[in-house]
Symmetry: C2
Subunit: 238 residues, 2 copies
């Protein structure tokens, strides 16, 4: 019983360890072309998923979009689901970085309007730059793994919002705080859809401003004691 072929389907090459360390002199032979192909395929997959959704996107279409044959696609990904998972993980990673910067402790010390800017702006920017993210996460036809990780992200984001609420309204009971956090996040998602639907330019900017006004008016009355910024400032009313 000789060792069988190392791997017909080498899974997706993890982007780690690009430098050949001494203990791993031969991770893979032709890394450069392969990595390029993977990136190319993921970009193509992002485009196709974005315009057709996960299920409606055919692997042949992804291969065609990447100017590659179906066989080549399946050299780097064991199946269609793995494409979505790898793409989703990369996007989730970027997203975590973005919202990691958004919820820093120093931002938490800001007054509410500035905090809203600091949190909302990066989120919107990320979703504008990566429309495939929402297409993959929001679609109900995404593979189970993606849905799980999206749920995890959702839970951690809710926790962050609850933290902020705890800071601005410490006397609020936990149950209500959880409810307000969910409502705040749902409102942001709804507004995000609107922002993405608006054409880039002044209209989109106005919509972003409107979303911030909405969130501010909702959250400002919750702040206690001497208001951090004053009640419901008519930031940019008519």
């Amino acid at each position: 019983m000789s060792e069988d072929v190392p791997e017909d389907v080498p899974e997706v090459a993890s982007e780690a360890t690009p430098e050949p360390t001494s203990d791993e002199p031969k991770p893979r032979r032709r890394q450069a072309r392969g990595e390029r192909r993977i990136a190319q395929l993921l970009q193509a997959a992002a485009n196709v998923f974005c315009s057709n959704g996960y299920t409606a996107a055919s692997t042949n279409a992804i291969a065609r979009e990447a100017h590659v044959s179906p066989g080549t696609l399946y050299q780097y990904f064991p199946n269609k689901e793995a494409i979505a998972i790898e793409l989703g993980e990369r996007l989730l990673h970027q997203m975590r970085e973005a919202h990691g910067q958004a919820f820093t402790p120093e931002n938490l010390a800001l007054p509410l309007p500035e905090l809203l800017d600091a949190v909302v702006d990066p989120m919107i920017e990320f979703n504008c730059a990566n429309p495939a993210f929402l297409a993959l996460m929001h679609g109900s036809d995404a593979p189970g793994r993606i849905a799980e990780e999206h749920d995890a992200l959702h839970v951690s984001l809710l926790a962050r919002v609850r933290e902020v609420l705890a800071h601005f309204a410490p006397a609020m009971p936990a149950q209500e705080r959880a409810r307000v956090a969910e409502m705040t996040f749902a409102t942001f998602k709804g507004g995000l859809d609107l922002v993405l639907a608006a054409p880039e330019g002044p209209e989109r900017d106005a919509m972003i401003g409107e979303l911030k006004t909405l969130l501010l008016r909702y959250l400002a009355p919750l702040t206690e004691g001497p208001l951090t910024e004053g009640p419901v400032t008519t930031t940019r009313s008519h």
Copy 2:
């Protein structure tokens, strides 16, 4: 050239004229069983669409859900799209009735909090009772016809909201009014998702209340002159 067979695919029987009037003594022979089958098939389709979405739902699955053979299904519907269209039209019709009652002139004369109750409650109730509606309309994989009609409904709902805004804030410029109307509606949709996700009972009711609070806090500052109800009443604060 003799008259060919009346219709291999009789399209879906319109629900009108169940009583045989004198000028139409023979519209169709066996109406009762057929109508029952159609309703049964549409109910089954609603279930399957609801849990799988349009594209992922197979006609065989719909037939199975209705305890009927595929052939029977295709006796009443020319194709899969027609099932979704008929179902969508019936749901849209009910929806139009519901929001027609919601936006009556007398409701428009109510102060803002009561108006919110009058508009939000029927909408939520309808979507709770007909989860297939959102599944069909919100999914990006719906057939083109459905998307068109949903767009039409969306436009008319936005117009209603703009009317309300014009009533409460007549001095607001049209462009901003349109933006606020879109934001209000998007917020409602986001909150609706949350309400539907919550388990029926007190949690859902609390979520509905929270959504109303959110909308009230957003819209109340827009009212001009002597406030109709007072500013941002802490309706059910902690």
